[in-house]
């Protein structure tokens, strides 16, 4: 079950600036990248002007494997605390990528009650509008459904 969007309510776009432009351009092309420091190799997300570890301004957009696991999650059940353009209830998950950085995102093939911390997931891309592509996550292949805590 993916998040369903109401037609007619404008969707929220990310604020794209000179620091995170490369990240969102990759997403538009259905690729997931992570900012990586050219000097010390630290993965940095969200994108920033320089590396918080060594302060180097040299960085590359490193391709991410797109695999990770669910680090935490919530289920938005009350519509007034969710975005009016998205049908409630829907889950929001925090995915920890293999590379160690995390992403706030949605899931596409599961009910909120099936989600559990530690579930292996992999990235998929959804073209929601002609000018908006988002990364979402689905259960990794071979992972059997395990009942969540409720």
């Amino acid at each position: 079950m993916a998040v369903e969007y109401f037609k007619g309510i404008p969707l929220i776009r990310p604020l794209i600036d000179l620091d995170n432009q490369g990240f969102w351009e990759a997403v538009k092309n259905h690729k997931l990248v992570i900012q990586r420091c050219k000097d010390c190799g630290t993965y940095v997300h969200p994108p920033r002007p320089c590396c918080p570890n060594c302060n180097s301004f040299k960085k590359v957009w490193a391709p991410a494997s797109g695999k990770g696991e669910i680090y935490s999650y919530v289920n938005i059940t009350y519509e007034k605390v969710g975005y009016p353009g998205m049908m409630c209830p829907h889950a929001v998950v925090l995915v920890e990528l293999e590379e160690g950085t995390r992403l706030i995102t949605n899931v596409v093939d599961m009910k909120p009650e099936d989600i559990y911390i530690g579930m292996p997931v992999e990235v998929v891309f959804e073209d929601i509008a002609p000018d908006l592509t988002l990364y979402k996550f689905k259960k990794s292949k071979g992972v059997k459904a395990k009942k969540g805590k409720r």
Partner: protein, 408 residues
């Protein structure tokens, strides 16, 4: 980065620093004022601010022209010029604002104390006025008027996925907290029940006359799983003002001074406005830990010495998390500490939020916690803790935060 936090090793300076002798015991809170707390004030936020400031000035036994400093919240819509024009304050020598939503409450006192201690100003007012219930509710996502571009780059990583309300952000940390430490919704429910119990002693509380049971909490609807409606603070219309001056001047004023033993603020690595999800560990509150290390170092006391706590409590899990980060119990034991309510109610070993807190008195962005801390020191609370000598108050969590210890 977060290593010193995770290892719980603080690089503290052992040598006393300037603030240890400039602010400690040398600055005091001498006036508190407030409006009624309601769900629809029917008045402008400017009028609410003026009423609270007037009440605080009268409470302190000052004249309006004595006020020469104002510290406001960045979130507050009332600016200094509107206030001085309305109140007839001749001139201000010091003014400024503190950011990060409710994180600003204690830092306003820190700014005011710094101005007073350095002689920049004599009588500084800190205030917060908001028609949050009848006007723009912070807990909700604004409707169709919403801009379609996230307001800043870090929200841009969250909003498109529907992750855009304070309760959703806190729920994300809470889920992880429950996972790592086995905390339960019932344990959080006890926080809600005890604070509601405290509000029954406070006629100004929005939930005065409306006690709840643990069953009520457990049956209240899920808002963002794992948090229920009764895990949330109460959106309020209201205003609170607090006056800070030197201990020397305080001696000649109307009220028994609440001396500042220590006041501190802190940020921490990878912090954002309540969406600090990229940290190595998200289940607790690093800013609060850093702030606590400095707060207790300057105060020269330990958590065992604190008689009453007035925690910032926008959501129930923030209370056990603060108990852990400030050293009132071990990491992971905060929820169990609150279970049953015996230890945290008035009469217990560590009374918390004696006026009802944001959960049951009013949500004035943490300023009502500071005024209740002052009442506990004065001995005038409607839910007074006997012989309260040291009272701790904190400001907003999961954002740059602050803490304050007041003494008699």
């Amino acid at each position: 980065m977060l290593e010193e936090y995770l290892a719980r090793k603080y690089r503290s300076e052992t040598r006393p620093k300037a603030q240890d002798y400039l602010i400690k015991d040398k600055v005091a809170i001498v006036g508190i004022g407030q409006t009624e707390f309601s769900i629809d004030s029917g008045r402008s936020e400017l009028q609410m601010a003026c009423e609270a400031i007037k009440a605080a000035v009268d409470d302190a036994g000052l004249k309006m022209e004595d006020i020469d400093g104002i510290v406001k919240f960045t979130f507050d819509f009332n600016d200094e010029t509107s206030l001085v024009n309305a109140l007839g304050i001749p001139k201000l020598k010091f003014f400024g604002e503190c950011g990060w939503g409710g994180g600003a409450s204690v830092p306003t006192i820190l700014h005011a104390a710094t101005a007073v201690a350095t002689g920049v100003a004599d009588y500084v007012v800190c205030f917060r006025a908001l028609n949050e219930r009848s006007g723009r509710r912070y807990g909700y996502v604004p409707g169709a008027t919403l801009t379609t571009i996230a307001t800043n780059t870090h929200y841009g990583m969250n909003f498109p996925f529907g992750f855009m309300s304070p309760i959703a952000w806190v729920a994300m940390f809470t889920q992880r907290y429950m996972h790592e430490y086995g905390a339960t919704s019932e344990q959080l429910g006890w926080v809600s029940v005890v604070l509601r119990e405290h509000a029954q002693k406070n006629p100004n509380a929005l939930f005065y006359g409306k006690p709840i049971t643990l069953k009520d909490h457990q049956e209240s609807p899920m808002v963002v799983d794992p948090l229920r409606r009764m895990d949330c603070c109460v959106d309020t219309d209201g205003a609170v003002a607090i006056i800070v001056t030197s201990a020397e001047r305080a001696k000649n004023l109307k009220q028994k001074p609440a001396y500042i033993l220590s006041v501190a603020s802190s940020t921490a690595t990878d912090g954002e406005l309540m969406t600090s999800v990229y940290r190595k560990k998200i289940s607790l509150l690093p800013e609060t830990w850093y702030m606590g290390q400095e707060l207790f170092r300057v105060a020269g006391v330990t958590p065992k010495d604190i008689d009453v706590i007035e925690f910032y409590d926008a959501f129930t899990p923030l209370i056990p998390m603060q108990l852990e980060e400030l050293g009132f119990c071990n990491v992971g034991e905060g929820a169990a500490f609150c279970e049953g309510g015996k230890r945290i109610r008035v009469g217990g070993e560590l009374p918390i939020n004696t006026a009802g807190g944001s959960l049951s008195e009013a949500y004035i962005h943490g300023m009502n916690q500071i005024s209740e801390a002052v009442r506990q020191i004065r001995g005038t609370s409607t839910n007074q803790v006997k012989n309260a000598e040291l009272v701790l108050a904190t400001s907003g969590l999961g954002v740059p935060t602050g803490g304050l210890i007041l003494r008699r």
